[in-house]
Amino acid sequence: MASDSLALSASEKVTGWRLFLKTIVARAYPRIIGQQREKSWILFEILLPMLAVSAYVYVYRAIGAPEEYVGFVVIGGAMTAFWMNVLWMMSSQLYWEKEQGNLALYIMAPNSMMAILLGMAVGGLFATALRAIAIILFGSLMFQVQYSITSFTQLILVFLLAMTALYGMGMMTASLFLLLSREAWHLSNLAQEPIYLVSGFYFPIKSFNFWVAAAASLIPLTLGLDAMRQLIFPSGPALGFLDVTVEIAVLIGLCVLFLIGAKLLLDYMERLAIREGRITESRR
């Protein structure tokens, strides 16, 4: 009886790209399923952001800003969900995984750590998309936002590129956090507000000096948001930073940069962490 139960049958364990895909699905699973089981996100990630969105909407209306600004704010509010997800659930995630004891199991398993990070990204993207859609729906209904989409194809392309580059950036920074201990928490806090400012979540980045806006464009959400607003609102192009096609080209570049950067940095950091004994323990 023992041998029947304990022996693994002859069917092969998969390797290579099939193992890579299985790992992505398996690591995405807790994020997707977790959202269904933990309903507190409705308060923290829809209702609270809606307060910030509402504040900006009332300010714009009070000073008589063009009505498109209300739409800008709602779209910006929806996209902040992705930034928060990357910051708290991607970048600093490996620190928490280390604290829980999962990181050692991920590294010891034959899967690729890139697949683990991609799984986290895919799961996070899916779960956050639901939140972003909810914010757009609530915001649009509450403030009667009018949309006039000029190109669905470009809009979807921009969104996908912005997300790929953004989560690529999250994967890259996650590698850096592999070596950090409690300071990971402080670094995430430190990054949160400045990014809100420079990525133009609540106003067009054209308001900045050109070079400040250009520097802010290294954050994928900045150009993604700018291009999406140009494609969604009639007055968007007049308030846009660069032409949409240029922004698409830059976003493609950022995707390549961050994904390759994530792979190289992750390999390096893993070797360093194993050498210094930081996979299972915080800094000695």
């Binding site: 693994l8 364990k13 299972t280």
Partner: protein, 341 residues
């Protein structure tokens, strides 16, 4: 090249520890492992026995590719852990006592399924195997319980199932029964034995500081203390070396200034350990000759200490440890604890 499950040569690990602010950048060195030479054959259940802080976990971390050695080399399933970790990892798995891995929002089945996927197991087969293994450890009724709702002991059983799930060539169990009650520990020990019996090409390396567990389960045991392997053999052989000695346990009334040192200074007393117990003390003595007992009893009675019970017993691994280290494992752990308790 011989096909050993585990092989190490002059393996060492030194940690560099940062000093506090006053000591600025001065780094201290902590030798966690020193010149460890071990060979574990395929099919063996090999035990690493030693007190907390002896270097057992450091050795397991190196063998599971999670930590690089600072000297020497190690091979697992015939592959070098530093040069070829990608060849070692598909062949191994590890479970640590008291670990809190997995995600609390997932059920027991979901957590185990997730980890099985990282090893490329087909989903259907993984689910079937999860049910079988949970049944063997008596956890089948918790299949759909969120892991955050499990007690520490049940969670540890889930972790143990995770280790066996992928049917590795070499399984590392680091203090697997830590925190488990007697019944649960027995279930786990049975699972370990059955798993090895089902396929004799599998190998299991177990670390423990429970002497009885090591004695009951292991084909061979390495006794490790302060990063060094002090002895390595079958439990019976280790104990055989002590069999010509006489081992006595004496329970007495409270000690009147009698100390380990006074006892150990008696002729033909090889090792002595004193433990205070309720209403008195327990003395464990390893004597070169039985005749030496008379002088020990004399010493005790001269100090007006009453002898409540005296028995001679067969040597245990605890006695082997005491013979090698000079102290009982419990006393070593007390000394090494930061607050000395």
């Amino acid at each position: 090249m011989p096909d050993h499950a585990i092989e190490t040569q002059d393996l060492g690990r030194v940690y560099k520890i940062r000093g506090n602010k006053k000591e600025s950048q001065v780094r201290k060195e902590l030798v966690a492992l020193e010149n460890v030479n071990l060979t574990v054959e395929r099919g063996e259940l090999f035990g690493l026995l030693g007190p907390n802080g002896a270097g057992k976990t450091t050795l397991i971390k190196i063998l599971t590719t999670l930590l690089a050695p600072t000297s020497g080399w190690a091979r697992v399933a015939s592959h070098d852990v530093v040069q070829a970790p990608s060849l070692v990892r598909p062949r191994i798995n590890m479970v640590s006592g008291g670990e809190a891995s997995g995600y609390g929002l997932l059920t027991v089945r979901e957590n185990l399924w997730m980890f099985s996927q990282f090893y490329g197991m087909p989903s259907g087969e993984a689910n079937q195997r999860i049910v079988e293994l949970l049944r063997l450890v008596g956890l089948e009724d918790r299949l759909h319980t969120k892991s955050s709702d499990l007690s520490t002991g049940l969670r540890q059983k889930m972790n143990i199932v995770r280790g066996f799930l992928t049917d590795p060539e070499v399984l590392f169990l680091d203090e697997p029964t830590l925190g488990l009650d007697v019944g649960a520990s027995r279930d786990v020990r049975k699972l370990i034995r059955d798993w090895l019996d089902a396929n004799r090409s599998r190998t299991l390396l177990l670390t423990t500081h429970y002497m009885v567990e090591a004695e009951e389960l292991c084909d061979r045991v390495a006794i490790i203390n302060k990063g060094r392997v002090l002895a390595c053999d079958a439990p019976a052989n280790l104990k055989r070396n002590l069999r010509r000695d006489a081992i006595f346990e004496i329970e007495t009334s409270p000690l009147n200034g009698l100390s380990n040192k006074i006892l150990a200074d008696q002729p033909e007393v090889k090792k002595a350990a004193l433990t205070e117990i309720e209403g008195g003390a327990k003395l464990e003595l390893i004597l070169e000759e039985e005749s030496a007992l008379a002088s020990v009893i004399n010493l005790i009675t001269q100090k007006n200490i009453k002898i409540l019970r005296l028995s001679k017993r067969e040597p245990t691994l605890e006695d082997v440890f005491m013979e090698l280290v000079g102290q009982r494992m419990e006393d070593v752990e007390k000394e090494e604890a930061p607050d000395g308790k």
